[in-house]
């Protein structure tokens, strides 16, 4: 597909998601109180959207990833929450 065709197929959906994202950020800030580790990753991921650099999806996913390389001592829970808890984990 050329760029015009991609825009025809996906622009409205992307616009919808961007407005939802903006509303989410407004909602979080309106609520008051401190950010937690999830919002730290979220803000790092937003930076990956900036500018005209490519490969954004991979960079956003890395911003939400534990980037350490050694196994943890024990699985304390089964679920995942979407962002690494430790301050050292999401940096690369």
């Amino acid at each position: 597909m050329n760029r015009q065709q991609v825009l025809d197929l996906y622009f409205l959906d992307a616009r919808h998601r961007l407005v939802e994202l903006a509303a989410f950020l407004d909602r979080v800030e309106r609520a008051g109180g401190p950010d937690d580790f999830r919002m730290r990753s979220f803000r790092a991921a937003l930076a990956a959207l900036d500018g005209r650099q490519r490969d954004r999806a991979r960079k956003v996913l890395l911003a939400f990833s534990d980037l350490t390389t050694q196994p943890v001592a024990r699985a304390e829970a089964k679920g995942a929450c979407g962002a690494p808890r430790g301050p050292e984990r999401g940096r690369r």
Binding site: A57, L67, T68, R74, K78
Partner: protein, 268 residues
């Protein structure tokens, strides 16, 4: 259009899903052993589950003209208890000769712990010892990148495992490259909320090419869609992909990988 659903947990789906999948063109469904949503208390619970996957579920699928295959293992969410895992792994060989068993899966990691890794290595050894295909589950969300690296290292360390006989499932944009570079197959899972959307999966197909890639719904007892594969085929059509290109991803690719199993090859 006909397609193969290479990853679906049909024991937790209703019969209507089989009917809808058959109507959409599904000809075969492959069911990896997974977590039931709760921890089983004893190895006997797994033995019953393996019997369900190899005896009961194929009959349920056959009512709608679908061939049913399965993979056997202890999943990573129940792998923190290494003693229990060892007892379950000891049960697996007696089921491997059953005619719908494809191999060992879905093994892998969940929280990337030392015990999970030890159990993963035990099951890689099991696959090597019995010359079985391997289907790997990669962790969710923040744990996926690290877990995929640890899994690839564990597989590479077992020199009897040939990469073309391994499918690494649930890849996303930050893990697909390392899987394909390792010579293994990659599965893209289509979920409404996590993992891949149809649009992103097709982006990866267009970026990396369609060799050693397949699509699956991984439908289970959570938020998931058993028709995710044909819906993605429709999305490919909207983007101008030709019928032959769609057929390769939804039918010929899974058939090629799975035909390395004599059970699949004999039945297809």
């Amino acid at each position: 259009m006909k397609y193969i659903e290479p990853h679906a947990h049909m024991v937790s789906r209703v019969t209507d899903d089989y009917e809808r999948m058959a109507l959409a063109g599904c000809v075969a469904v492959c069911e990896p052993a997974f977590w039931a949503g709760f921890d089983r208390s004893a190895p006997a619970g797994f033995a019953d589950y393996f019997s369900q996957l190899t005896e009961h579920e194929p009959k349920r699928a056959a009512k709608f003209g679908l061939k049913h295959f399965c993979w056997l293992c202890i999943n990573s969410k129940e792998a923190e208890d290494v003693k229990l895992a060892g007892e379950v792994i000891a049960l697996v060989p007696e089921f491997l000769a059953r005619p719908n068993v494809l191999g060992i899966g879905e093994i892998g990691l969940n929280k990337n712990s030392r015990n999970e890794l030890q159990v993963l290595e035990m099951q890689i050894e099991l696959a090597a010892a019995h010359h079985q295909l391997i289907l790997v589950h990669t962790p969710h969300l923040e744990d996926k990148w690290k877990g995929t690296r640890l899994i690839l290292d564990a597989l590479k360390n077992q020199r009897r495992i040939r990469p073309e006989r391994v499918i690494i499932d649930h890849v996303e944009e930050h893990t697909i490259g390392m899987v394909l570079d390792a010579g293994m197959w990659a599965g893209m899972t289509l979920y409404p909320e996590t993992k891949c959307t149809p649009a992103r999966a097709i982006d990866m197909l267009e970026t990396y090419g369609a060799e050693r890639l397949w699509l699956n719904s991984a439908c289970d007892w959570g938020v998931s869609d058993p028709l995710a594969v044909p819906k993605t085929a429709l999305e490919m059509k909207k983007r101008g992909h030709l019928a032959a290109a769609i057929d390769k991803v939804v039918y010929r690719n899974p058939r090629k990988f799975l035909s390395q199993s004599p059970h699949f090859k004999n039945a297809f």
